[in-house]
């Protein structure tokens, strides 16, 4: 699936629920489904320090595709990490760099998350794109 197809699928999934608590339940499910991040990836350079919770993000290349992994100590934040990984992981670096991430606004995550977390979300996305740019540069310079 393309990045946009995955985004649309997530939007449909969240659109099933009218009640915000149900949407949060879904987000929690996403958080709980995220594979635990290997301890060796929980290094300072992978850490995005927020005011309230911590996020680790790691990127690797497998078969020419960028594979992300990540974790957070708060499950709702982990849910966001999980969604971003679902959308962006296993695509080429160029696809990730070019991606227009619209699902966050569409499912109302941005407006319904407190400002500190919204910043965290923006920071996470930025970090994932930076990884892709770095991997892309590394790839083309080979």
């Amino acid at each position: 699936m393309t990045i946009n197809e995955i985004q649309d699928k997530i939007i449909d999934e969240f659109a099933q629920f009218d009640d915000w608590m149900d949407r949060y339940s879904l987000l929690i499910d996403y958080g709980n489904e995220l594979a635990t991040l290997d301890e060796r990836y929980k290094k300072p350079e992978n850490l995005i320090e927020g005011c309230q919770s911590r996020v680790w993000l790691n990127a690797d290349v497998q078969d020419g595709l960028v594979v992300y992994s990540g974790e957070s100590d708060a499950v709702l934040v982990k849910g966001i990490v999980s969604l971003l990984i679902t959308v962006l992981s296993k695509h080429t670096a160029q696809e990730i760099i070019d991606a227009d991430i619209y699902f966050i606004d569409a499912i109302g995550l941005k407006e319904h998350l407190s400002p500190t977390r919204s910043n965290g979300l923006v920071a996470m996305l930025k970090q994932m794109k930076i990884y892709a740019i770095a991997l892309n540069v590394k790839n083309t310079s080979k």
Partner: protein, 406 residues
């Protein structure tokens, strides 16, 4: 309830608001309190009909504004039992008041090798200004440890005192644990060694009767916005003999007696410490808030908040995974807790979506979080306008959040 809560809640329009379509339950009073109509009306009245810069003009309005500002100073002095209104310095808040003392008093009375005592339960506001002073003047910060109920270890405190100790700076009430510290005793011990004491009263003044003369405290600070007044106004109380010896904190208008390019002489107390145009609207609004609190009565407020606290504590313990932080018998209306291993932030967000405003995180007390070995806590803090019904709503919402997260 000992007073008419319905009537009181009408004084605070925000309490009737809804968030996400749910009635607002405001349990973040330790961060800031809501403002009664009389305070906001006073601000409007001053700007619409009483506004002129103070202490400068001979004109009617300026005199009227000056009088209001100085009357406000007297109201504050009376409220905390200060001997004279000149011992009341208006600041931007408790933080600025502590910085003023650290900067001015610290400059004059501290030298390399000296020590400042704080406690393990301090807000960053009562840590960082002293650390900055320590760096500037090569002093040492000593920390009174606490026990697991969140109480100061007084024996350890006495052991920390030595001939190098210059000041004890301490929270009157902890913003995380709610512990009401035995400040009278702490001051007596410090004074035996001729050491002055600064109390951070930000969490105390709104909840219990404070009398600085009875306490014999040397410096006392608090913020207006935590006692139903606007943000940006706060108070430093200092004993005259100390304030007199301290150099000015900031230079500018108002704080001078005479300025020439050769030499400037400084104004007398309290003006020496109020450089620039003071927040005279803020000071008068603060006095209005203090009058409001007094009209309700601090004794009644304390009783009401204790009842709310007792009920909330009882109900929250219905959730078996709850751990409460701060279990001192002498405790104010602050309920800090965690639920099992759930991150406080997750609970905070899910409570928020049910209309409940609590604080989550480290509460600007990271050293205390380290001691408690938690990344943060959830803190519900009460004011006299809160109700038992709101606590029920809170507990139901909390149970729902926990069910989703556990």
């Amino acid at each position: 309830m000992i007073f008419d809560t319905t009537k009181i809640r009408n004084d605070f329009p925000i309490l009737a608001d809804k968030v996400y379509g749910k009635p607002l339950v405001y349990f973040d009073n330790a961060a800031t309190t809501q403002k009664p109509r009389c305070v906001v009306a006073k601000i409007e009245e001053l700007y619409f009909h009483g506004n002129a810069n103070i202490h400068r003009g001979v004109h009617y309005l300026s005199q009227k504004a000056t009088e209001a500002h100085e009357n406000a100073r007297q109201t504050v002095a009376n409220f905390i039992g200060a001997a004279a209104s000149s011992e009341i310095i208006f600041t931007r808040g408790a933080t600025e008041a502590i910085n003023l003392v650290a900067s001015s008093w610290g400059e004059k009375f501290c030298s390399a090798g000296d020590e400042i005592i704080v406690s393990a339960m301090e807000h960053h506001s009562n840590i960082v200004p002293w650390q900055m002073l320590c760096e500037r003047k090569n002093l040492k910060l000593r920390v009174i440890p606490i026990n697991h109920d969140g109480e100061l270890l007084l024996d350890e405190y006495e052991n920390l005192i030595n001939e190098k100790t210059r000041l004890v700076a301490l929270a009157h009430i902890s913003n995380v644990l709610g512990t009401i510290n035995p400040v009278k005793k702490i001051i007596e011990i410090a004074h035996k060694h001729n050491i002055p004491v600064l109390l951070d009263g930000a969490q105390a003044v709104p909840h219990i009767k404070v009398n600085v003369s009875e306490l014999d405290v040397d410096f006392y600070v608090f913020s207006g916005h935590k006692i139903y007044a606007p943000t940006g106004i706060g108070v430093l109380y200092g004993k005259t003999n100390l304030l007199d010896q301290m150099p000015p904190y900031q230079g500018g208008g108002e704080m001078i007696q005479n300025v020439s390019f050769e030499k400037t002489t400084y104004n007398s107390l309290p003006f020496k410490f109020e450089a620039g145009t003071p927040d005279y609207v803020g000071s008068v609004a603060l006095a209005t808030a203090l009058d409001y609190v007094q009209s309700i009565g601090l004794e009644g407020i304390a009783t009401c908040e204790t009842e709310l606290m007792r009920y909330a504590t009882k109900r929250i313990l219905e959730i078996p995974e709850v751990t409460i932080f701060g279990t001192s018998a002498a405790k104010s209306a602050v309920l800090s807790f965690n639920v099992g291993k759930i991150h406080p932030y997750d609970i905070g967000v899910l409570l928020d979506h049910q209309g409940i405003a609590v604080r989550t995180g480290h509460h600007c007390a990271q050293p205390l979080m380290d001691f408690l070995k938690v990344p943060g806590t959830i803190r519900a803090s009460f004011a006299f306008y809160n109700t038992f019904d709101e606590i029920d709503t809170f507990i139901n919402a909390l149970k729902k959040a926990v069910a989703m997260l556990l």
